[in-house]
């Protein structure tokens, strides 16, 4: 029900609720914008399901995610008798690395994918 692929928006035809996206092979494909048109602009990263844009990927939301995971790490460290501050620092460092990679990818640095591997 949920099979979807990430794609980058190349162009938008608001009148027909259509967008042209690239799923990474350089071929522009027409897809229907299933969500509020104003949520999408050129260059956005979106998820496409059966030719329908179902969401915009919001990598900034990872910040919120990091906050939540810090709380979880603290709770677990207390439970295990470890230093909670150290656990929080570790989570922060690990996830900030991810954010940094995401930022550099947005700026078009090509080596970032290799770093993830």
């Amino acid at each position: 029900m949920c099979w979807a692929v990430p794609a980058v928006v190349l162009d938008i035809d608001y009148k027909n609720s259509l967008a042209y996206v690239d799923i990474g092979d350089g071929v522009p494909r027409p897809v229907i914008i299933g969500i509020a048109n104003e949520r999408i602009s050129k260059g956005d990263l979106v998820m496409v399901h059966a030719g329908v844009i179902i969401t915009r990927l919001d990598l900034e939301a990872i910040n919120q995610f990091i906050e939540e995971k810090k709380e979880l790490a603290k709770e677990l460290a207390l439970m295990a008798g470890d230093d909670p501050e150290k656990a929080v620092r570790e989570v922060e460092e690990e996830l900030n690395k991810i954010l940094e990679i995401a930022r550099r990818a947005r700026e078009g640095e090509v080596k970032v994918v290799k770093e993830i591997w």
Binding site: A36, I54, T55, I98, V113
Partner: protein
């Protein structure tokens, strides 16, 4: 560069072994706490409703990373598996009568119960000379149908994720006048509740103690759509993304909620899902479709679980134009082949390997039942990627399991 950006979005939640290792530790810690309060033998069943989650779990060997008191159960999230045989039989009939039929690749191979003029699927109808065309989306069908002008039908299966696409296509008049939509859209929450009810009424062994909710369906309907599970069943729900670390995080959160008795709906897939969902998509679906009782293959009618085009959009409606009779609860008959356990697999009552046909008569090359066809069908996923203990070997190799 575009490929790079796309990869980053996926890979940050996939290729991060450090995060995977940490998440696995958390899962074991919480399961130990739960073991102390529920007993040694208690098994915590967590249901993944979505076929794509089951794909992630099997493909990446997630089951090899959880302790033996945590069991992941596949749920009803595969539209191809639950589309009644009757509608595909009608599509085959029209195709053999000369109507151009557009559909997705998995529906193309979906076997029916009663062959039509010898054709057991749209693929076989094509082999017999019918014009059946595989497309990725209704946009491609519209472009193609506009070129030839012949009577055409789009077999529109799917869940809430495709519904806004069909709705926009209708609202913006993207369909050429010769292309009609056969709306077979189904709704996920009613099936989820139904399946939890069934499992609660007829407990095989241990109850479902947590739910991994479908991430992409929730982009449309929102995290809020799952609150009835918390209210009515008192179990945790985590709306989850589709990379392996997403799923592991969901398992951690479910076990944490159980251990702390802090039961709620949590969105793990924050990069894609909002609590309210997409209000505009919800409103376009409501404008174009009405909610109807709908038949699920092998299961029967589930109230308010399907979407039919509203009468004001009847000019797009394949049922109307081609005179296809709607199935009724009185006429519906059990529509799985003898021996096939697809319905039980779909409802999480049995595993694919409990089916007597699994990998004997029924294989991905020669599917007998509908769960063996789609990439999201639990049987097809297990057949392709499961078994052999390979995932445990790989996990050991990656240093994730000792």
């Amino acid at each position: 560069m575009i490929k790079d950006r796309i990869n980053v979005a996926e890979l940050i939640f996939r290729r991060n072994i450090a995060v995977t290792r940490r998440l696995r530790e958390y899962i074991f810690k919480f399961s130990d706490i739960l073991r102390r309060s529920y007993g040694e033998d208690y098994v915590f069943k967590i249901m993944d409703f979505c076929g794509t989650h089951e794909w992630t779990i099997v493909h990446f060997g997630v089951r090899s990373l959880v302790p033996n008191n945590v069991e992941l159960v596949a749920g009803p999230g595969c539209p191809v598996c639950v589309t009644p045989s009757y509608y595909i039989e009608q599509a085959i009939k029209l195709a053999l009568e000369g109507v151009v039929v557009y559909t997705y690749g998995d529906v193309f191979r979906l076997p029916v119960l009663k062959p039509v003029n010898g054709a057991r699927s749209l693929a076989e109808a094509k082999a017999l000379g019918a014009d059946v065309r595989i497309v990725h989306s209704i946009v491609h069908a519209s472009i193609d149908a506009g070129k030839h002008g012949k009577d055409s039908m789009f077999v529109g299966i799917g869940f809430e994720t495709v519904a806004p696409g069909y709705a926009e296509a209708v609202l913006k008049n993207l369909l050429p006048s010769n292309l009609k939509l056969m709306s077979l859209v189904k709704l996920t929450p009613p099936a989820a509740f139904y399946s939890l009810d069934i499992l609660r009424e007829k407990p095989n062994d241990y109850p479902i103690m947590g739910v991994i909710a479908p991430g992409h369906v929730s982009t449309i309907i929102g995290g809020k759509a799952w609150t009835p599970i918390v209210e009515n069943y008192g179990i945790p729900v985590v709306v989850t993304g589709f990379e392996p670390n997403d799923v592991l995080m969901a398992i951690v959160e479910i076990l944490r909620q159980l251990a702390r008795n802090d039961i709620k709906v949590v969105i793990e897939y924050t990069r894609a899902v909002k609590w309210e969902g997409d209000v505009k998509a919800q409103s376009s679906i409501r404008t174009v479709f009405e909610t109807v009782d709908s038949a699920w293959r092998g299961i029967g009618y589930i109230p308010k679980s399907g979407l039919a085009l509203r009468p004001m959009f009847s000019k797009f409606d394949a049922f109307e134009y081609f005179g296809i009779r709607e199935l009724t609860p009185e006429e519906w008959r059990y529509d799985l082949p003898p021996g096939c356990k697809c319905a039980e697999v779909t409802l999480g009552k049995v595993k694919p390997t409990d089916c007597p046909l699994f990998m004997k008569q029924c294989t991905p090359d020669h599917p007998v039942g509908p769960c063996m066809v789609s990439m999201e069908g639990a049987c097809a996923v297990w057949a392709r990627f499961g078994g052999g203990g390979l995932s445990v070997e790989i996990a050991k190799d990656l240093g994730l399991v000792m």
